[in-house]
């Protein structure tokens, strides 16, 4: 079966065609960067209007690239939350309209659940139960997946998402946007020897807090600038990144033990961080746990993961009602 996936929950407009929930036939993303290039000017990056302008050409391109005619599509999947209401409505409305026009079932997908399915796309042999750590600009979740469609959210961020903390620290250190890769690069030249936060106030829980770490970096930079001393940007980047990864490691491996899983999956844009990958890989090898992470283009927001997730949802529960509403604060249950 061919599944059409649509993702418009944040800045990225994405459409994909996936076969049987695991084989990518096309996977197109229109990011702000592309948009600037293709339209030859600055286009407001956030407006729902942009999703609206991008989505029809993207749909046509995704079908064309997959070599698929509309009547061959058997299921339409779209993200219905969490995300920005304006964007969600564009993707959701398109998917519902196509479902009616093509007379095929429609299924709504939770964006956070979609990120987990990026791993099923990249590693077709993967099966639950597993633990998934999703770390991106908008989400930080530690999730136990008992079987397809059955989840327990063990921990989430209480303030800033991991990727957001990277972006904000990059801003303070003058590294530009996106902050993740910039901090990653600079951290390689620094020593992770600055203690930024003394105490883990969420110790014993699976929740995360990165705001205090971010504020510690801001405070330190501010203090040095006031004294007229140089800011050791590389050491700060290395220390900040090291402490983010340490927190993620501590929560995750404690959960791996508590839930006795031997499969761990990483997803989200921060899963592309080199130190994070290296340290998780090393620890996984030491413990004999199977570690999976998707390639970069499936780590970040995309529609192939939405199609894959929608396929499993539909097989388990059937189609979603056509009056399914966009849910900006949707939780994974």
């Amino acid at each position: 079966m061919l599944i059409l996936g649509v993702e418009t929950s944040c800045d990225e407009t994405a459409v994909a065609v996936v076969e049987d929930g695991c084989k990518i036939r096309s996977n197109l993303i229109m990011s702000q960067v592309d948009r600037h290039r293709r339209f030859g000017g600055v286009v407001p990056e956030l407006a729902a209007r942009c999703h609206l302008e991008a989505i029809t050409p993207l749909l046509e391109a995704a079908l064309r690239e997959a070599g698929v005619r509309p009547q061959e599509i058997g299921l339409v999947a779209a993200t219905y939350g969490p995300g920005l209401i304006g964007g969600l409505l564009v993707g959701l409305s398109l998917a519902k309209a196509l479902s009616l026009a093509w007379n095929v079932p429609f299924v709504g997908v939770n964006h956070v659940e979609g990120h987990i399915y990026a791993n099923f796309l990249a590693h077709p042999g993967l099966t639950p139960p597993l633990l998934c750590l999703t770390v991106s600009g908008g989400h930080t979740n530690l999730i136990y997946m008992a079987e397809h469609g059955v989840y327990q959210v063990l921990g989430e961020t209480r303030d800033d998402a991991a990727g957001e903390a990277f972006d904000k620290v990059a801003r303070v250190l003058g590294l530009g946007y996106p902050g993740g890769p910039a901090v990653d690069r600079l951290a390689r030249e620094g020593k992770p020897e600055i203690t930024l936060v003394q105490q883990d106030r969420l110790a014993g829980t699976y929740d995360f807090s990165f705001s205090g770490l971010k504020t510690a970096v801001v405070n330190l930079v501010h203090r040095l600038e006031q004294k007229g001393e140089p800011v050791p940007a590389a050491d700060l980047a290395a220390s900040f990144q090291g402490q983010v990864v340490s927190t993620l490691m501590e929560r995750t491996w404690r959960a791996v033990e508590a839930y006795q899983v031997n499969t761990l999956a990483l997803s989200g844009g921060v899963a592309a961080n080199s130190e994070l990958r290296a340290r998780f890989t090393e620890e996984a090898a030491r413990r004999g746990v199977n570690l999976y992470y998707p390639p970069l283009d499936l780590c970040t927001d995309n529609a192939a993961m939405v199609a894959a997730c929608g396929y499993f949802r539909w097989r388990k529960e059937g189609p979603s009602p056509l009056d399914l509403a966009a849910a900006p604060r949707l939780r994974l249950t």
Binding site: P44, E45, A47, R49, R158, G163, S211, K214, V218, P328
Partner: protein, 208 residues
């Protein structure tokens, strides 16, 4: 049992406000714990401005809790201050004081978070916006018409669009590393009244 309040301390009709905690609150409190005590250094100025010194993040959050208890539908707050100055932490306190079903987390990525409760709260971070024309799809007016309260970070472009009275809350770094000076500048009588109630409540808390 729930008790309905017909008029709040601010003299606005406030039908539908529930005195009992929503069911999720006990769990939330268990999960997140109760924060520290209120800031005690408070200074009122002649023009209605109120300056509050917060000694640490816990006090900033608790200040939000106290203010959350006196908010009314349509209240509009603009929060300014550099990264890490406590804006989101303050809003997290608001969601606690307003008995929302969830506590606020950073809205930077999603731009808008909506928190359900007896009085809903919209929490926005407009840092990523590049101009006022990008505000349109956010439908700010509808949020106010919905009888919710609004807290907007980096909200300069929204001030012109909304053209309504508001409270400006400025977060500045204090002398000590964790210290913050939080200034409440009211634009309009409605917000001077909030400042009055806020200082009254802080004084009450300080005496406990």
């Amino acid at each position: 049992m729930t008790v309905r309040v017909e008029g709040g301390a601010r003299g606005f009709a406030f039908p539908g406000a529930l005195l009992t905690r929503p069911t999720g609150y006990a769990n939330l409190k268990k999960k997140y714990g109760r924060m520290g005590c209120c800031p005690v250094r408070v200074e009122k100025q002649h023009d209605g401005t109120v300056r509050i010194w917060s000694e640490n993040p816990a006090e900033t959050e608790e200040l939000g809790v106290v203010l959350g208890g006196i908010l009314q539908p349509g209240d509009l707050f603009f929060l300014s201050g550099e990264l890490g100055s406590g804006k989101t932490l303050f809003v997290r306190g608001l969601t606690q004081g307003m008995n929302c079903t969830e506590l606020a987390t950073s809205p930077t990525f999603a731009l808008v978070h909506r928190y359900d409760g007896p009085l809903p709260l919209y929490h926005l971070d407009l840092y990523r916006l590049t101009g006022p024309e990008e505000l349109e799809p956010l439908a700010l007016e509808e949020m106010i018409e919905e009888e919710a309260a609004l807290a907007i970070e980096w909200g300069e472009p929204a001030k012109e669009v909304l053209a309504a009275p508001y409270m400006e809350v400025e977060f500045r770094r204090g002398e000590a590393e964790d210290e913050r000076l939080i200034t409440f500048r009211p634009a309009g009588e409605r917000y001077r009244r909030i400042n009055h109630l806020l200082t009254e409540e802080l004084e009450k808390q300080a005496q406990r």
